[in-house]
């Protein structure tokens, strides 16, 4: 299972644009999903004789359902603006990791089968028949994209490679080339309720243990309620928060916030996962099924508010898609959405991010914090890609940048941003998002983290930063594993609520 040996890139002073090295990452192939995993998802597990027709048909189906795909495949002019924007290209120098080239893997086939020019003059417009080699390229390179949308910020037409990658993975699934890691997780969340496959009783034990730890540590009986009917708030958080380090420190932080503010809250064993890998695979129905567990839990428990913990893609799905998928939000006038809307408290945004909630509580003085308790830390903040470019917090555009920073600055005294072209909307992905957080893609993950590691290294040198806060379970897991390869200590990564947890005053 050990991944092949590879060289760790050297940290330079600046993020450099490498010269092309064709085929540099052609060998990086994530494990294929085996039969039981694909069976559960309703996909084949191997290429049938008709795989080519199935692939082309599926592409046609998606072209009819997603305007993004259709417009993006047509509109690109190959200007090259995106070519130096992807962290995987910057880290690997493989030209197929340039966003436009990644798109072209599909665009060449789209042109051949679905455009006049590609049918008449394939050579001229770079159109190609679908072959096994191209399909393998799709598999390799659509699993070297974390769907982070950095390229879409810089494209003059807003072409978002994530949309192409998602469509590519959906087609691959339909011909029998699913990815083991993501599809296994999609099975677990649907069968058990969370991505880690942690069953209800185990979750209950874990939470009790954490309650004891907090009480031993602080002398205050902070509770972590599970499946409490009639609670005001349902907290939905990535399941990594229940037992991974440093994630659990943030879970303790949320619990302390609710305790200090006197908010009656609960977790749900049925919806013990905020993450939704359906997003990564570009399958609307799967994404909806996974998200429906949260709606079901909210109705079952009768909660008035739904709050989401620290997780990047989960917040994208929650903020941008839950209303569409499950009616969690406002403005629906159909019976399906009204059923839930009439139960929710309209004085709060639904869903609400935990950073929005905590920041409001601190600003309004409902909870008290002492930032000097974090004086051992010099902090920087990594904007998680999905939060930065696919969601918002608060009422103003850009609240997803200002609110977490406001919150951090209220609980720490020493804060420094990383370089401007590596934060806010230009933030670099951690390198492990979009279904790539698996050991069989370690080389892709390490090299993809190069731009972020470079930016971090600069604030470490300049400001002696010793803690990088982030609000994503995948970022936390990725950085703790990958940053040590660049010589950083893994304990310098943690959640924003880990900082809150240290600074908050409990009665």
């Amino acid at each position: 299972m050990a991944a092949a040996e590879f060289d760790i890139p050297e940290l330079k002073d600046d993020i450099e644009i490498p010269k092309l090295r064709e085929g540099a990452m052609a060998h990086a192939k994530t494990f294929i999903a085996p039969k039981p995993v694909q069976d559960f998802m309703g996909y084949p597990h191997e290429l049938g004789e008709d795989w080519k027709e199935r692939a082309i048909d599926k592409m046609g189906d998606l072209l009819g359902k997603y305007r993004s795909l259709k417009v993006f495949l047509d509109a690109c002019v190959h200007c090259g603006a995106c070519t130096d924007k992807c962290h995987y290209y910057l880290g690997t120098s493989d030209p197929k990791n340039m966003p436009v080239a990644r798109q072209d893997l599909m665009r060449q086939v789209y042109r051949r089968y679905y455009t006049t020019a590609g049918k008449l003059f394939p050579k001229l417009v770079g159109a190609k028949d679908l072959t096994r080699e191209i399909l393998d390229d799709w598999y390799n390179y659509y699993h070297q994209c974390s769907e982070c949308r950095r390229c879409s910020v810089f494209c003059p037409y807003g072409i978002d490679t994530a949309e192409i990658t998602m469509a590519g993975r959906e087609i691959l699934n339909h011909v029998g080339m699913g990815q083991k890691y993501s599809n296994e997780i999609l099975g677990k969340v649907q069968k058990i309720g969370n991505n880690l496959g942690l069953p209800g009783p185990a979750l209950e034990d874990t939470l009790e243990g954490l309650e004891e730890d907090i009480e031993a540590d602080t002398g205050v009986a902070v509770k972590m309620p599970l499946d409490v009917k009639g609670a005001e708030v349902l907290l939905v958080t990535p399941s990594a928060d229940f037992f991974s380090e440093p994630h659990v420190e943030s879970l303790i932080g949320y619990a302390k916030v609710f305790h200090a503010a006197g908010i009656n809250w609960t977790l749900s064993s049925h919806a013990s996962e905020a993450g939704n890998f359906g997003l990564f695979n570009g399958n609307y129905e799967t994404m909806r099924k996974v998200a429906m567990r949260i709606r079901d839990a909210a109705l079952e428990l009768g909660v008035k508010r739904i709050v989401v913990g620290e997780c990047g893609h989960a917040w994208r799905v929650a903020y941008s898609f839950w209303n569409t998928l499950t009616g969690i939000g406002y403005g629906g006038n159909d019976p399906f959405s009204i059923e839930l809307q009439k139960q929710l408290d309209p004085t709060y945004p639904q869903p609400q991010h935990i950073c929005e909630l905590t920041n409001d509580l601190i600003k309004s003085g409902k909870i008290k914090v002492d930032p000097s308790l974090n004086d051992d830390l010099i902090v920087t903040y990594h904007d998680s890609c999905n939060v930065a470019r696919a969601s918002r917090m608060g009422t103003e555009p850009g609240g997803q940048f200002t609110i977490p920073r406001e919150l951090i600055k209220s609980v720490v005294n020493n804060f420094h941003n990383m370089a401007d072209d590596t934060i806010y909307e230009s933030t670099f992905c951690c390198g492990g998002g979009g279904g790539l957080l698996t050991d069989d893609l370690m080389e892709v993950r390490v090299k993809g983290a190069l731009p972020r590691a470079t930016a971090l290294n600069n604030v470490v040198k300049e400001h002696q930063v010793n803690f990088m806060a982030t609000i994503c379970a995948i970022c936390k897991a990725q950085f703790t594993k990958v940053l040590p390869k660049y010589g950083f200590d893994m304990s310098m990564v943690g959640g924003v609520h880990q900082l809150v947890s240290k600074a908050i005053k409990l009665d």
């Binding site: 997603y66 259709k70 690109c76 924007k85 001229l124 810089f154 037409y157 898609f321 555009p397 997803q400």
Partner: protein, 239 residues
């Protein structure tokens, strides 16, 4: 008259092709809210964002100053040149078209310089060379040839523009007039007709496409407004 027929066919293909594409884009649903954020929260804000993209190429400016300079020179130059050409299709010539004339004349230089810069990048920058297809290069060559042949007639060997105007006015009123038999003009016009034919089946679709790009044309308001595509709404009824 070959050129009259050619322009009728080219216009027909351009219009039918573009109308079909625009119809196709507008009937294809965007089932999810995917604006690239930070995004405006209102429709008015979306119009402002789109205007900045279309007029100033805002995202491209953030991305790469060289491509922005060449791309903007080319497009803005082309815009002025096209405006100048309206004098061949209007009688009397519209007031503002008259004002644009002198600018349009020199805008052709902007246009060709921009195109030359974009073409040079296709050979000089290894990343751009890697992604360029023959059609990418030919498209630039075609536009440069149109620009240069036009400039030749403006600045060097003038053509009979009175007869030319009679030809185009004749086309518009279905009263076909002879075209001046000037070789440079004939080349210029043939290349323009070719461009018109290629437009709806090529990457020139970026022009209508940007208006349909969900990452740029959606408002960021998913918590306040429920956005559901027709094919997706059917899933709600099964619950």
């Amino acid at each position: 008259m070959i050129y009259a027929g050619m322009f009728y066919i080219a216009t027909l293909l351009l219009v039918v092709g573009l109308v079909y594409k625009i119809f196709d884009y507008s009937r294809t649903p965007a089932p999810l809210k995917i604006p690239t954020t930070p995004a405006p929260t209102t429709q008015k804000g979306v119009v402002y964002r789109m205007a900045k993209e279309v007029v100033l190429f805002e995202s491209l400016f953030k991305s790469n100053k060289w491509i922005w300079v060449f791309g903007w020179l080319f497009h803005f130059g082309l815009f002025l040149v096209l405006a100048r050409h309206l004098r061949y299709f209007t009688e009397p010539v519209w007031f503002w078209v008259g004002i644009v004339q002198p600018f349009g004349k020199y805008a052709s230089i902007m246009m060709v310089v921009g195109l030359a810069g974009l073409l040079a990048r296709r050979f000089l920058v290894d990343r751009v060379r890697y992604i360029s297809t023959p059609s990418d290069i030919l498209m630039l060559v075609l536009l440069i040839a149109i620009g240069l042949s036009g400039m030749l007639m403006t600045f060097v060997v003038h053509t009979d523009i009175v007869a030319l105007k009679a030809f185009f006015m004749g086309l518009m009123y279905l009263d076909v007039q002879p075209i001046p038999m000037d070789p440079i003009l004939l080349v210029h016009l043939a290349l323009v007709a070719l461009l018109m034919v290629i437009f709806p089946i090529s990457k020139l679709l970026h022009a209508p496409g940007i208006f349909f790009s969900p990452t740029r044309n959606q408002a960021d308001n998913p918590r306040e407004h429920r956005h559901v595509a027709a094919w997706a709404a059917r899933l709600d009824q099964n619950n």
